[in-house]
Symmetry: C2
Subunit: 376 residues, 2 copies
């Protein structure tokens, strides 16, 4: 990435390198804190300017961290005994979440000790806690979860949002998703003018619900000044395709598309494995394809693009898969690191603020227009 | 399939075999009538009891059919000069569709000359024409398009509906989809008691829209007497999975899931091809995997499961992909043949009629209950 230099939420170490601090919830994932610590240890090795604040039961975490030399002096532990379970309801967690590792991980971002928080825990609870601890950015109605989806575009990925922060989204929300998705694509995929598409069941302008048509007009009207290109409606096939870089949709549709895509990839992966263990001859054949197959699997491995980003809050939160192993956690931390390095949080806030201001100016201008017209 | 014997919409030939007649729209697909004729010729070879009525410009079709020995004496041609284009709007086609090959293909089913119609043409127009020519089954509010989706279930496929007949569906519609999907799974996949799931963003009962909860209760209440098992809410990942056999959803969500899955499979296929042409060594490796890879590709080849079925009409219509080649057309014809052989149309009509009757009885009983209660 080239545009990562001008940021603020970092400190410098004695050698003058900028240090990035990531806040990590050690608990709540399906594989427990050992996988999380193994993941951050791997990331620490790869990125010498990265430090961690790790949240969870102190004694347990101390033992795990001690075993990892790469974390030596680079990982603070914050004791938090409570754990948000996968089965906990967000509403319960909002009332009783204080004292959990998830709450504590968000607190470090709120207090600006860390730039980004990472958690493998319960998505609904994490979003609910993020909303009450970090609060929505001024001008944002519904925050969204954005993911990177493998695509045939040159950058290798597309951004899709919302994939499940909220099941509803009106036209204004979808416009905000377009703005936030643009910001993410610019900072996360290094695209100067991202192409934005609105997900629908056909590309013709007359297709779909009236609400979508309203969003279409609103997004089209804001494309120029927000410096994205609006390609209009896109279909499910364009999510992994190259017609656009950012796919905007409501959280219900986005969540189902995401899980359908993941399920389809998993089915194909399983079938492929069966293909190569089908007979002695095909097992022999498989030996010849180990290296190209590895390259392929690395390319589509969902663990390597692990991490939904919560957008629209005062602070960035990366949600890793609940089933993430060390590789998955490390991928989520890498994403958090890159976003922190890019000063993504501040950039997004600035973009949303200027959009809200423009909208207000527009409304004022419309008001004046209406007055002018009423005079004539 | 074992349960295909007791049907009615067939005739017997001089040898006593039952002959099945399929009505085929030769026009409107992306690859023109040559691909369609090649496809039906292939099907004719495979199924000696299969006859065709082919619709389109007589002179052109005569030439194409003459070249195929397997179609000798087994393919009537119905002259129709008009063609419904992919870009035509359904509303226009409803007004001006008479005289097109699509209209003519449906007419053969309406007149009971053929059991099932097959078309590669414009989906929206085909649904619109099917609605006005064949009419909805009594008791059906919204017809649906059902597809077979490769899955990890023993039968290798799941049924999903609606994938785009209509963008909306209320609770009653979703119940009807569950009933029709059950019928399709029983006749098309030979499952005695199909497991039905309702697509949502989580499996917990409290997730999703209130409208979905209403559908949940309605489907649960009808499972026993309609002889399906209701597994409750399912997620996108269950569409290619093994939690259920029939996935029920509205046409907006279903269409986006379908196209996302297809797009993801295509992306993976493209990546896999690149993997094996990446270097000389990997091309060499590819030689060793030709046979297992072929087996794999056959398994996930979308052309081999080509065909959405329109359910809820007086007559069955199979919609093949617009881009279907001979293999794709032949797969759609195979599906049409199997459904015709199973007497699927009559079975579905009987099931919907009995469900409507039961619902009426229920309503009457509820009315009596209410009266009884008002007396006490």
């Amino acid at each position: 990435m080239t545009s990562l230099k001008d940021h603020s939420a970092t400190t410098q170490d004695e050698t003058g390198s900028e240090r990035i601090v990531i806040s990590v919830d050690a608990m709540g994932g399906d594989r427990g804190p050992a996988a999380v610590v193994a993941g951050i240890a791997h990331s620490a090795k790869k990125n010498p300017t990265l430090d961690f604040i790790l949240h969870g039961p102190e004694d347990e975490l101390k033992k795990l961290v001690k075993k990892r030399r790469s974390l030596d002096g680079r990982c603070q532990i914050r004791d938090a005994e409570g754990v948000v379970k996968m089965t906990d309801k967000p509403s319960q967690v909002m009332r009783n979440g204080k004292g959990t590792s998830m709450w504590s991980a968000l607190e470090s971002v709120k207090q600006k000790e860390a730039t980004v928080a990472v958690s493998c825990g319960n998505t609904g609870a994490l979003m609910a806690l993020s909303m009450i601890r970090l609060r929505k950015l001024p001008g944002i109605n519904r925050p969204a979860i954005a993911i990177l989806w493998p695509s045939s575009n040159p950058q290798g990925f597309n951004v899709m949002l919302d994939v499940g922060a909220d099941i509803r989204a009106d036209a204004q929300d979808l416009l905000q998703y377009a703005l936030m998705g643009t910001s993410y694509a610019r900072n996360g995929l290094d695209l100067e003018v991202p192409r934005v598409g609105l997900l629908n069941v056909g590309t013709e302008e007359n297709k779909g619900f009236p609400e979508l048509k309203e969003a279409y007009n609103l997004i089209a009207a804001n494309a120029d000044r927000a410096q994205f290109e609006f390609v209009g409606y896109v279909e499910g096939g364009d999510i992994p395709g190259k017609r656009c870089d950012v796919i905007v949709t409501d959280g219900f549709t986005g969540n189902i598309a995401l899980k359908t895509g993941e399920g389809t990839a998993k089915l194909i992966g399983d079938q492929l494995r069966k293909t190569f263990t089908h007979s002695f001859l095909s097992r022999l054949a498989a030996m010849f394809v180990v290296s190209p197959m590895r390259r392929f699997q690395k390319r589509i491995d969902p663990r390597r693009v692990n991490g939904g980003v919560f957008l629209g809050l005062n602070g960035t939160v990366v949600k890793s898969h609940g089933s993430a192993d060390a590789t998955g956690v490390s991928a989520a931390v890498k994403l958090a690191f890159e976003l922190a390095q890019a000063g993504f949080g501040e950039r997004l806030a600035a973009r949303v603020a200027s959009a809200a201001e423009l909208a207000q100016n527009d409304a004022a201008a419309d008001g004046r227009d209406a007055q002018d017209k009423s005079k004539t």
